[in-house]
C-alpha cells in the first residue's frame, strides 16, 4: 500500500469506528437506559411495564410489611401526590426507614414496582442524587437533611 492510500484507509477506519461506537451506543441507550420516575409519573402512566426503571420518593409511614419468608418486604413509596406499591426481596440498606427517602431500581409489573436494588441515604453525606432534587421540589425532605 502506498503511504498516501494507507493514511486514507486509516482515517476512514477511524471514522467508521467512531460511527459504529455512536450507533451501537445510541441503540443500547434506547433499549437499556432506565428512567427515573416519581409515583406521580407512574400514576400518569409515564412508565411502561417491564422496562428497567428507577422509582424515588418517601417510604410511607406504616407501610412496610414483611412477608412470611422474612426476606421479602412490601412498602409504599409516595411523593405527596401519588403512591406506588413496591416489593423487594433482599437485605435493605441501613438507613432505609419509614418516612425516609429511598430509590428503588427495578421495573413495573402489573402496577407494582418490583425492585432489584434499594438505595437509601447510607451515610451522613451521601444520598442518591435524585432524592436531593426531590426533597427540594416537594419540601418533604426534612428527614434527608443532615
Amino acid at each position: 500500500m502506498k503511504p498516501k492510500n494507507q493514511r486514507l484507509v486509516l482515517v476512514s477506519a477511524a471514522l467508521v469506528a467512531v460511527l459504529v461506537a455512536a450507533l451501537l451506543g445510541m441503540w443500547g441507550l434506547r433499549n437499556q437506559a432506565s428512567f427515573f420516575y416519581t409515583p406521580a409519573d407512574i400514576a400518569a402512566g409515564k412508565a411502561s411495564e417491564g422496562q428497567a426503571a428507577r422509582l424515588g420518593g418517601m417510604v410511607e409511614k406504616g407501610s412496610i410489611r414483611h412477608e412470611p419468608d422474612g426476606v421479602t418486604i412490601r412498602f409504599v413509596v409516595t411523593d405527596g401526590k401519588a403512591a406506588t406499591p413496591v416489593v423487594f426481596r433482599g437485605i435493605v440498606p441501613d438507613l432505609f426507614r419509614e418516612g425516609s427517602g429511598a430509590v428503588a431500581e427495578g421495573r413495573l409489573e402489573r402496577g407494582t414496582f418490583v425492585a432489584d436494588t434499594i438505595l437509601a441515604k447510607h451515610d451522613e453525606r451521601y444520598m442518591p442524587p435524585e432524592l436531593g432534587n426531590l426533597a427540594a421540589e416537594h419540601k418533604a425532605g426534612k428527614t434527608l437533611e443532615r
Binding site: 486509516l10 467512531v18 461506537a21 428507577r54 426476606v71 441501613d94 451522613e124
Partner: protein
C-alpha cells in the same frame, strides 16, 4: 505553621510553573541556552509541590484540627494509617496529590528523558508546566487544602467508614499515579506536535511512561474491583458505576496507546494516530477526575457537591483538551505517514486492536455521560447501568479477546506464512469448551458461554509466541506480552464462571438452622456482639461444610460512631475452586437473622487475571528499561574508548 508552609510552597510552585512556561517560549524562539534553566525549574517545582503534600500529610498525622480539611475528614480516635490516608480521602487533599504527581512526573522527565529531541523535550516540559499551572490555580483559588479554622475545634468529624480499609487507603494513590503518568505521554505528544519531531525516538521516550501508568491503572482497577466486591457486601465485582468507568476509560485509551506506540517505535508508522491516542488517554484521565471531583455524579465515591469547583474543573478540561485537539488538527495533517504495511500484518492487527478498544471506549464514554447530558438538556433523569454496558460493550470485548490470540502471531509489514497453522490446538480447545458448555449446561446465557469458549482459546493461543523459541533468548517484552495476554484469558474465565455458576441464597435463619448454597451447607451457630477501636458490631458465627470438615465464617454489621454509619463486613473464605461469600442482614421479628450466601466458583480468577495483566506489563517495562540502560552504558563506553 505547617499549613502555612504548605500553602507557601504551593504558591511558589505555581510561580515556577508559570516561569517554566515562559522559558519554554523563549527556548523555542531560538534561544536554547535557557533550556538548561528549564530542567532545574521543573525539578524545583516538583520538589516544592512534594513539600506541600508532605505538609498536608503531617497535618493529618498530627490530627491538627485547626486545619479545616483535617477537621472535616479526620478524628483523633482513628487508627494512624487512616489518619494519614485521610489526607487524600477527600476533595482538596486528593487534588493536591494529583498535582503533586503531575509536577513530580514533570521533574522526572526533566531529569531522565534524553531520547527525544531537545526541542521536543522543552516543548513537552512547557506543556507539563501549563497543565500543572491550571491545577495549581484550581487548588489556590477554589479548593485550598490548607485553610485554617479559628478557634480550632476539639475533634474532627471522621472519615467515611467505607473508606477505612487498608486496600482503599492505597487505591487512590495507585490510580492517580496511573492517571497522571499519562500526562507525560500527553505533554510529549503536544511537544512533538509543536516541533514536528514525531518519530520512533519519541515513541521510545514515551513508552516507559505509558507502560508504567498502564500497569498502575491495571492494578488500581483490579484492586478497586476487589474492594467493591468484599467491602460493599453486594457480591458483585464491577457495577459500571460512573466512578468505576472514570478509571476504565483512561485504561482503555492507555491500552490502545500502548499497542500503537509499539508500531511507532518499531516501524515509524501510525504517527498521527499515536499522537491522537496520547492526547485522548490523558484527556480521559482529566474527564475521570472531573467526573469524580466535580461532584457532578453523586455516588459511593463522590463526596461533595460544589458547582463552583465543577465549573472550574470543566473549564480546565475544555481548555486543555480543546487546545490539544486544535494543535492536533493543525499539525496532525503535516505528519508524514511512516513505513507502509500490508493488510495482513502485525501493524494491521494492532490497528484493529486500537479500533476495537476505541469503539469500546466510545461506548463506555457515551453510557457514562449520556445521563448527565440528558439531565442538563431536558431535565429528565435516567440512569445507564450494567444492562447497557454488558449488552453493547460485552460482545465487542469478546471479539477483541479472540483477536488477542491471533494478532501476536503476525509478522511486521507483511505476513507470508500461513497464520492459522499453529492456531489449530487453541481453536480445538475453544470448540471443545463450547461443546462442553452446550452439553453440560444447556441453559447457560450466551455471553458466559462464549466467554468460556474464548477464554479456553486465548489461554492456549496466548502462549504460542513462545513456542519453538529459546525461552532464555526471548526478549522480556515478549514474555510480558504473553503473560498479560494469558492474564486476559484468566480474567475472562473468572468473569464467565462467576456469571454462569454463582449460587445465591437469601433466607432467614434462627440459631442452629442450616441453609444450603451451591455444594455448601451453612449453619448459623450464634449471633454475638463484637467491638473494634471505633465501631461496635453484631457478628454471626457460621459453620460451613461440604462433605467432611468445616470452616467458620464471621460476617458482621458494623456501627461506626464518627460519623454514625452502618457497614456490612462480608466474611469470605477462599478455596482453590471459588469463594464462599456470606453477609448478615437484619434481625427478623420472629427471632431469626437475614443471611445472604453466595458460592462463587472461580471468581478469584478475575483478580488473578488482572494481577497477571499488570505483571506482564511490569516484565515488559523491566525488559525495556534494562535494555535501555545496557545500550546507554555500552554507547558511553564506546564514546570513552573513542576519545581516550
Amino acid at each position: 505553621m505547617i499549613a502555612e508552609a504548605g500553602l507557601a510552597a504551593l504558591w511558589l510552585a505555581a510561580g515556577l510553573a508559570a516561569f517554566q512556561f515562559v522559558l519554554m517560549i523563549l527556548a523555542l524562539r531560538s534561544n536554547l541556552e535557557v533550556a538548561r534553566a528549564m530542567r532545574g525549574v521543573a525539578v524545583a517545582q516538583g520538589a516544592l509541590t512534594l513539600l506541600a503534600f508532605a505538609m498536608l500529610l503531617i497535618a493529618f498525622a498530627r490530627s491538627d484540627m485547626s486545619v479545616a480539611l483535617v477537621f472535616e475528614n479526620s478524628h483523633s480516635a482513628k487508627p494512624f494509617i487512616y489518619k494519614v490516608a485521610g489526607a487524600w480521602g477527600n476533595h482538596e487533599g486528593s487534588m493536591l496529590m494529583w498535582v503533586t504527581i503531575l509536577a513530580v512526573a514533570g521533574a522526572f522527565v526533566a531529569m531522565l528523558a534524553h531520547r527525544t529531541g531537545e526541542r521536543t523535550l522543552i516543548a513537552g516540559l512547557g506543556s507539563q508546566a501549563v497543565l500543572a499551572l491550571g491545577f495549581y490555580a484550581f487548588l489556590l483559588i477554589a479548593s485550598n487544602p490548607f485553610a485554617r479554622l479559628f478557634p480550632a475545634p476539639p475533634d474532627g468529624r471522621g472519615l467515611n467508614p467505607l473508606l477505612q480499609d487498608p486496600g482503599l487507603a492505597f487505591h487512590p494513590p495507585t490510580l492517580y499515579l496511573g492517571y497522571v503518568g499519562l500526562s507525560v505521554a500527553f505533554s510529549l505528544a503536544v511537544g512533538a506536535l509543536l516541533t514536528g519531531e514525531v518519530d520512533s525516538r519519541l515513541a521510545g521516550a514515551m513508552r516507559p511512561w505509558v507502560l508504567g501508568a498502564w500497569i498502575l491503572l491495571t492494578l488500581g482497577i483490579t484492586a478497586g474491583s476487589y474492594w467493591a466486591y468484599y467491602e460493599l457486601g453486594w457480591g458483585g465485582y464491577w457495577f459500571w458505576d460512573p466512578v468505576e468507568n472514570a478509571s476504565l476509560m483512561p485504561w482503555l485509551a492507555a491500552t490502545a496507546l500502548l499497542h500503537s506506540i509499539n508500531v511507532l517505535a518499531a516501524r515509524g508508522a501510525l504517527k498521527a494516530w499515536t499522537m491522537m491516542l496520547a492526547v485522548i488517554a490523558f484527556s480521559m484521565s482529566m474527564v475521570g477526575t472531573f467526573l469524580v471531583r466535580s461532584g457532578i455524579l453523586t455516588s459511593v465515591h463522590a463526596f461533595a457537591i460544589d458547582p463552583e469547583r465543577g465549573t472550574f474543573l470543566l473549564a480546565l478540561l475544555a481548555i486543555y483538551v480543546g487546545a490539544a485537539f486544535i494543535l492536533f488538527a493543525i499539525r496532525g495533517a503535516t505528519l508524514k505517514e511512516g513505513a507502509p504495511f500490508e493488510l495482513v500484518s502485525r501493524e494491521s492487527g494492532l490497528v484493529i486492536n486500537n479500533l476495537l478498544l476505541s469503539v469500546i471506549l466510545g461506548i463506555v464514554f457515551l453510557g457514562t455521560l449520556y445521563p448527565l447530558f440528558v439531565e442538563a438538556v431536558s431535565g429528565e433523569k435516567l440512569s445507564v447501568g450494567a444492562p447497557y454496558f454488558n449488552a453493547v460493550a460485552g460482545p465487542l470485548a469478546l471479539v477483541l479477546a479472540l483477536l488477542v490470540g491471533i494478532g501476536p502471531l503476525l509478522s511486521w509489514r507483511r505476513e507470508r506464512r500461513p497464520v492459522f497453522g499453529p492456531l489449530k490446538i487453541p481453536a480445538l480447545l475453544g470448540i471443545s469448551a463450547l461443546a462442553a458448555t452446550v452439553i453440560l449446561w444447556p441453559g447457560m446465557h450466551i455471553l458466559p458461554r462464549l466467554g468460556l469458549t474464548v477464554a479456553a482459546f486465548l489461554a492456549a493461543a496466548s502462549i504460542l509466541p513462545l513456542v519453538a523459541r529459546n525461552p532464555l533468548r526471548t526478549p522480556l517484552a515478549t514474555w510480558g506480552m504473553v503473560v498479560a495476554h494469558f492474564g486476559i484469558a484468566v480474567a475472562l474465565a473468572g468473569m464467565a464462571a462467576n456469571a454462569a455458576f454463582t449460587g445465591e441464597r437469601l433466607a432467614i435463619a434462627k440459631a442452629g438452622e442450616t441453609l444450603s448454597v451451591g455444594p455448601w451447607l451453612v449453619q448459623l451457630q450464634d449471633v454475638t456482639p463484637a467491638a473494634g477501636k471505633n465501631w461496635t458490631a453484631i457478628e454471626a458465627q457460621l459453620l460451613a461444610s461440604r462433605g467432611q470438615g468445616g470452616v467458620t465464617l464471621k460476617p458482621q454489621t458494623r456501627y461506626f460512631t464518627d460519623p454514625p454509619t452502618e457497614t456490612n463486613e462480608a466474611a469470605i473464605d477462599t478455596f482453590w475452586n471459588g469463594q464462599l461469600y456470606t453477609v448478615i442482614g437484619k434481625a427478623d421479628p420472629s427471632g431469626g437473622w437475614q443471611l445472604r450466601l453466595w458460592w462463587k466458583p472461580f471468581v478469584t480468577l478475575i483478580w488473578a487475571g488482572g494481577a497477571l495483566i499488570a505483571l506482564g506489563g511490569a516484565v515488559a517495562l523491566f525488559g525495556r528499561l534494562w535494555r535501555l540502560r545496557r545500550r546507554r552504558s555500552s554507547s558511553a563506553e564506546w564514546r570513552r574508548e573513542r576519545y581516550a
